[in-house]
Symmetry: C2
Subunit: 330 residues, 2 copies
């Protein structure tokens, strides 16, 4: 049963095994689950409208600017419709099939500019955005009870973005979600045979699936890409933990994201996409893990087959997608 105070709750399914966040408060957000997605009125993420968001937790901008006033370049605040409830500790009483959905759900607004997509940001602001990712990642990972921090960028309505102004969401969870757990399991098992993600970079080079490389990252179409133009961004240096990425790596990440996204825009006319960062669980030792980002353009509707099977059907061979995208990146 849902907890009576309406707080979100994590529920585990006995058949499927996965966890769901039952979050009644989310139904109040624009288009929140049961109706059309309509956002009326002024953009709450634009400068001058700061009163429309919860108070900020961090911002970067002009010296001497007033908190929750304009003059910022990047601004972070709790999501108005959080999927997770802030609590003194994210640790909660674990039931046989429930867990309080304690944690943090933040929004990082990329810039004051309503129409400036990450693809078109200049190198320096894009680097500062990556630095803000790392800052929030580090900060939230340190809080009691947080086991996993996910950084997620939804671009475009069809990708689930309910507001147009470019922003990123940060989820700090009290458990290691299934998708990360599965990666941990596979990378640990590969063990002495070497890291599958390091191998994926080599294989992509050999098999013509590299989109782009710079000094610190490879962008590649994975061998079994789930969707057309699925792209992974893999740091060339094997490291388990995003929080230890240095300035050179953050600049490299900003560079490869911008260039790949520009290529996608060239090729597919500003497609909606989801982009997310996977790093090892907070404060744990998983030396075999390799942090990375995954990007999936939302070109096709996933249908019953994906739900029924847990598999995907991809009509564009990744070799072909990588070749076209590499050409578009130029």
């Amino acid at each position: 049963m849902t907890r009576e105070d309406g707080r979100p709750e994590l529920r585990r399914d006995p058949l499927i095994g996965g966890w769901t966040i039952v979050a009644p408060g989310r139904s109040r957000r624009p288009g929140g689950g049961t109706g059309a997605r309509t956002v009326k009125g002024p953009c709450p993420f634009c400068p001058g409208n700061e009163r429309l968001t919860p108070p900020e937790v961090w911002a970067e901008g002009e010296k001497g600017r007033r908190r929750d006033g304009p003059g910022w370049e990047i601004r972070v605040f709790p999501n108005l419709y959080p999927a997770l409830a802030e609590a003194p500790s994210a640790v909660g009483k674990v039931g046989r099939r429930t867990l309080p959905a304690n944690g943090y759900h933040e929004v990082i607004v990329h810039s004051p500019h309503h129409d400036l997509a990450l693809a078109r940001m200049d190198p320096e602001p894009a680097f500062r955005l990556m630095r803000a990712y790392r800052l929030r990642y580090r900060e939230l990972c340190r809080r009691p009870g947080v086991r996993q921090v996910l950084i997620i960028l939804n671009h475009g309505r069809e990708a689930g973005a309910s507001l147009e102004h470019p922003h990123t969401q940060v989820f700090a969870l009290p458990l290691v979600p299934g998708a990360v757990r599965e990666e941990l399991r596979r990378l640990r098992r590969a063990g002495s045979r070497g890291c599958p993600l390091c191998a994926a970079v080599e294989e992509a080079r050999r098999e013509g699936r590299t989109v782009l490389e710079n000094g610190s990252f490879a962008a590649l179409a994975p061998f079994s890409a789930r969707q057309p133009y699925e792209t992974w961004f893999v740091p060339l240096r094997h490291r388990e933990d995003f929080s230890r990425a240095g300035e050179k790596e953050l600049r490299g990440l900003a560079d490869i994201l911008r260039r790949t996204l520009r290529g996608l825009n060239e090729l597919l006319d500003d497609p909606p996409y989801n982009l997310w960062l996977h790093s090892a669980p907070c404060g744990e030792e998983h030396p075999y893990y390799h942090w990375h980002l995954e990007l999936i353009p939302r070109l096709a509707v996933t249908a019953g087959f994906e739900m029924a099977s847990g598999m995907f059907i991809n009509p564009v061979p990744p070799e072909e997608a990588a070749r076209r995208l590499a050409e578009a990146v130029g």
Copy 2:
């Protein structure tokens, strides 16, 4: 590398572990993965247009009707853009990370009527449709190399239906897909503690999550429903295998599907949905398994969080969804 004859190929991901069907032929279908979904011209599923589909493999209709002519009530043929390739045997050479995507991909057209959704079918034709499901299930399960048959109904564009005329797809796969494998694992593990799906029926009764029951099925909102109004249809008799469902059960299934779908229409104004059937792998012994159907209305766009975590956020508590839907079912 994609096989040079353009045949579909199954690829396993070393990081994520899941399988993807890389099916270049699918990109030719309407809206096939990389563009807008536009279907022009006459409906290929309407009577009189049989020449627009591959030759039928089975049909039910008037006595003495000509094959691939009109006069049918239900018609089955191979999908024009198959995700799986027919082969003498579905068994193929297994590579370290590939498997030929051999199998069968069929379409069952529900009725000659272009606008007759399952929700509005009369009891007798709906029963005959369920019987056709069982017939194709049995037939395809028997073929060499087929390990799993999935029956999937996508309703509405937002649910991935590329054609409006009500139809169901049948996928006969050369492997047990991840979603079924996970259920098998959990149900086997539960073992002596009793079947979790039988328990789910009891729990739903106790906790107010039953939508509807008839003599042979329960429709319920699962405890950790992934999406608002997710509904499971569970046979009250524990059986592993859909192919052994009897006439009474098929009539009960038609009845509970029709009534639940009418309730959903009442409540949500003809929502798009995915509906699929899970049964134990073909010809194997899994007495702990419990066949069933799962339905998810497509009310919200799944976004980066679901992809990044493998989890779901559901803004409508299943207790509330079940209560509302039970009222609408009347």
